[in-house]
Amino acid sequence: MKLLVMLTGAIALAQDWTSYGKNPLGWRYSELDQINTKTVARLAPQWMYQTNVPGKNETTPLVFDGMMYVTGPSNNAWALDAMSGRPIWSYKKAPPASVSLCCGQVNRGFAVRGSTLFKVDLQGTLVALDAKSGTVLWESTLEDYKKGYSATSAPLVVKNLVVTGMAGAEYGTRGFIDAYDADTGKRVWRVFTVAEEGWPGDTWKRGGGSTWITGTYDPSLNLIYWGTGNPGPDMNGDDRRGDNLYTCSLLAIDADTGKIKWHFQFTPHDLHDWDAIGDPVLADLVIDGRAVKAVIQANRNGFFYALDRTNGKVLLSKAYTKITWADGIDGEGRPIVIAGQDPTEEGQRTCPGMGGGHNWQATAFSPMTGLYYFTSTERCMLFYKTKQEFVEGQWYQASTIGRAEPGNGRIDAIDPKTGKLAWYFETVSSPTGGMLATAGGLVFAGDAEGYLIALDARTGKALWRFQTGGTIIAPPISYALNGRQYIAVAAGQTMITFSLPK
């Protein structure tokens, strides 16, 4: 079995999957190659675990020591035997009835350090569990859920810290990223994603900037990269003039101190809900003949970006979907905004729509092909602003959107060195699932109609698919056990694994 020396300093086997993005750089690339372009046609289901919990499954399962750790909707989690799918322990904590959530009672996965698992619960708490038994070791509250705060994303373990984001920008909250001591649950640092300066009056107190997708970490620079969400109120900027830093931005944070080393704002004064929450993927690239440490992201605003991750300077930007709001990105990284695209009382149609070109769904980077894989949508939308008084803990948007126009989607493969599209796989609906890339020369993704699909990572040709019977929102993962490679994904309310026949 091949060994991969993980950049955190710990040693993890290629057969395991031990963090949200597989490695700290957020690649979602499995070094396993038993399932490859030649063998994938024989890929077949091995086991299914039915959670019987309704809701959207967005989890990235973790696999190590022969166990699979799965989080589910409504504060549920399970430890499953990774070979048989049989349940070993389960965790449940009923969320308070009044917890405020924009987008369902979802959870995106565990983090692990040693034999301790970490997950957030919807009511804005961070929980440590013993991986062997599921026993709760400690629990810390991020912020009071009655004020609109919640939590849905997988934490990120960095050295002795458990780093987590929050959700709630739709409820007049002020975003932050927290780091907790992995052993005690005591908060070590907090970085607010809404600066006190530059906002009119006290509007920064409810300035939004949720941090609802897990960041990445570069051990050589000791920097954590984390995207921030929309400003609040969402699509109405009348009361929040200015750029609204650090919303719709990427932050580079010193892992030891929690200080912001640099920031890059993709969409200053956002009026279209374009959270900067695509996975910040860390890749070393050669751009224009120069070797650079880059961070890449397909942003919701419709542009693909490569930034220098040492200083936050823009290296490259390129539209990957239809855009009507900007003429491009200038040398400083600022969009060249087209006038007349702001939401109005009677509605202004803008492309991309509220969900953006690419939303939050997990992306993948393959060092084998050098390509960056993500799902995207071609869709425009009517944006309306309206009036709303702020009441603590309540839905605070002062804006809305029109009826969704029909839109189809794609799985895109972009060369991050140029921003050029290498190939695409057209889908009949807007994409729902995330990506996995493997050393078998494959990329996997689930779709809205329930297919798990394997594509040739170099050409985008569909080589295999399986109808799971439930919409796939979660990204697939891969692991190996007893010499067999598995692909696993949450579909509908079911966890399913696939392998080659013995």
């Binding site: 009835a97 405020s100 709303q388 948007q397 809305t400 889908t427 009949v428 297919y451």
Partner: protein
């Protein structure tokens, strides 16, 4: 009822306040002018869950289990829900004057119009096109008029036109039952059911157009169209 009294006394301003809240919470599904969309048209003045203000209050507050209608009691105050009810009352019937005769429209539906060849009302008719048993609750008359005269104006989700060309060059057209990245299931105008995998055919496409013929502007005069609209608007299903 207390709610009714409050709404009546507060009058237009109250409804206006409700309008702002409506646009934020309700418009994404019910339309910016409450004309419906993913959720039912709310300008009709009759509602699935009951027609009293207290019924509307209950539905907004608690939601409708088994549907996408969420409960808003945790998100907004009772006072705001009352404003929403006042607003919904204020928009009811604004564009829904029905001039026709429903009984005459029923005759047209089943005879001259031939609508039952594709549409079902209760246990009668065909299930090729959308079921119209409750369409009077689901769609405004303006929408229904458009649907009769311009069938392609808005396609109900799941009723697009699917075209498959087989390797033998045969072209088969029908109404979508499913259409995904790898397969299509559909029913042709004779009611025959088809299922194909993408790799087994030459092409497989879905278009946002209706197989309903755009002939009713010529086939029916204005009185007959109004009669048909009156009949369709009267279709409220069973509670």
């Amino acid at each position: 009822m207390r709610f009714t009294l409050i709404a009546l006394m507060a009058g237009v301003c109250y409804a206006q306040d409700g309008r702002f809240t409506f646009r934020i919470l309700c418009a994404p599904c019910h339309g910016i002018h409450a004309e419906g969309g993913r959720g039912p048209d709310l300008t009709l003045g009759t509602f699935s869950a009951g027609d009293q203000d207290a019924d509307l209050f209950r539905v907004i507050s608690r939601g409708v289990p088994g549907t996408e209608m969420a409960g808003y009691s945790g998100r907004v105050t009772d006072e705001e829900i009352r404003r929403l009810v006042a607003y919904i009352r204020s928009v009811a019937h604004s564009n829904n004057e029905i001039k026709g005769n429903a009984a005459a429209g029923e005759t047209i539906f089943w005879n001259k119009g031939g609508c039952g060849a594709c549409h079902r009302v209760g246990t009668k008719g065909s299930s090729l096109g959308p079921d119209l048993t409750r369409v009077g609750r689901q769609r405004s008359t303006a929408y229904l008029r458009d649907s009769i005269l311009k069938p392609d104006a808005d396609i109900t989700s799941g009723y697009a036109t699917v075209t498959v060309v087989t390797h033998e060059g045969k072209k088969i057209v029908g109404v979508e039952r499913n259409f995904d990245n790898f397969s299509a299931q559909f029913v042709d105008l004779s009611g025959k059911y088809y299922s194909f995998q993408k790799e087994d055919v030459t092409s497989m496409t879905r278009e946002p157009r209706s197989l309903m013929p755009a002939i009713y502007g010529r086939l029916l005069n204005e009185t007959e169209v109004n009669d048909l609209l009156a009949y369709l608007s009267s279709l409220r299903g069973t509670r």
